[in-house]
């Protein structure tokens, strides 16, 4: 199967209401896609968002396995 570059690489689903802003996922991301957000959730915590403009996410799920709060609920590849 041909891998079309930039399309369907990977995707993470983040539940920002469950995120507590420990930023452990930011350190393990090999592509440095996850970043601290400028906005906060209902608890007043600056959460994490996936800044994936260039479709760089490889769907390795390291962030989801690291997350102590199961805030990264799904990872697609």
């Amino acid at each position: 199967m041909l891998l079309k570059k930039g399309i369907d690489m990977g995707r993470v689903v983040i539940d920002s209401e469950k995120c507590k802003g420990c930023l452990l996922c930011v350190d393990v991301c090999p592509k440095k896609i996850l970043k601290k957000s400028e906005t906060f959730n209902a608890k007043g915590i600056y959460t994490v968002y996936a800044d994936d403009k260039n479709n760089e996410c490889i769907g390795c799920a390291l962030c989801a396995k690291r997350c102590p709060d199961i805030a990264i609920t799904e990872v697609y590849r």
Partner: protein, 251 residues
Amino acid sequence: METLVFQKPKSIHKDCKVTFCPGCDHGVAIRIIAEVLDEMNIADKTIVVSSIGCSVFLNDYYNLDIVEAPHGRAMAVATGVKRAKPDKLVFTYQGDGDFASIGLGESMHAISRGEKVTAICINNTNYGMTGGQMAPTTILGQKTTTTVNGRDAEVQGYPIKICEMASTCEGAAFVARCSLDSSKEIENTKRMIRKAFESQLAGQGASVIEILSTCPTNWKLSPQESHERIRKELYPVFPLGIYKEKTSKQV
């Protein structure tokens, strides 16, 4: 086409909110246990014994049958559960204060008797829930709210090493210490938990998994610095590895 490579384990409640402090490794431990149960397909025949401490709210997370034990008596309760229902998988989820301080007698006797249960002990070197007091596993020199100048061997004595102690018991079938400080160690911990459950299902004896975990709130460090502390300060005192593994021939 997209394929789902990770999702929340089915043994965890659908709308569960993990209520631990930010960066606490308890959430990872709870998730990987649920993943192991799902992979082995034994969630419907599992009974969990939870204890007092940060592990007390286990029923908020797990979609499993849970018995709440009095402080320190999780292994004693697990003994009763396992003897009444020998075909079930029974494991306890305890902290180090619960397992090695108030419950040391119950824990060591249950292991010595070779009860076919698994004890999962989260070692964060202090009493996390009550505000960071000295625990039996607090390492020498560590500052806690009850050892403000650091633990002194002359006054408070030396830390208890759970795995070394448990591995001397003849009833123990599988004893291992693992950590949650990196992605690699998380995978390794998951493998160890699976081995312990398999050992229990094979009827080999008691199994103990000690997991080095962080307590960023009471260590007064960031989650990242806490993992660094595990690698620098705890690894020399609590070496990782398998301390005892009974093969099927020895049983």
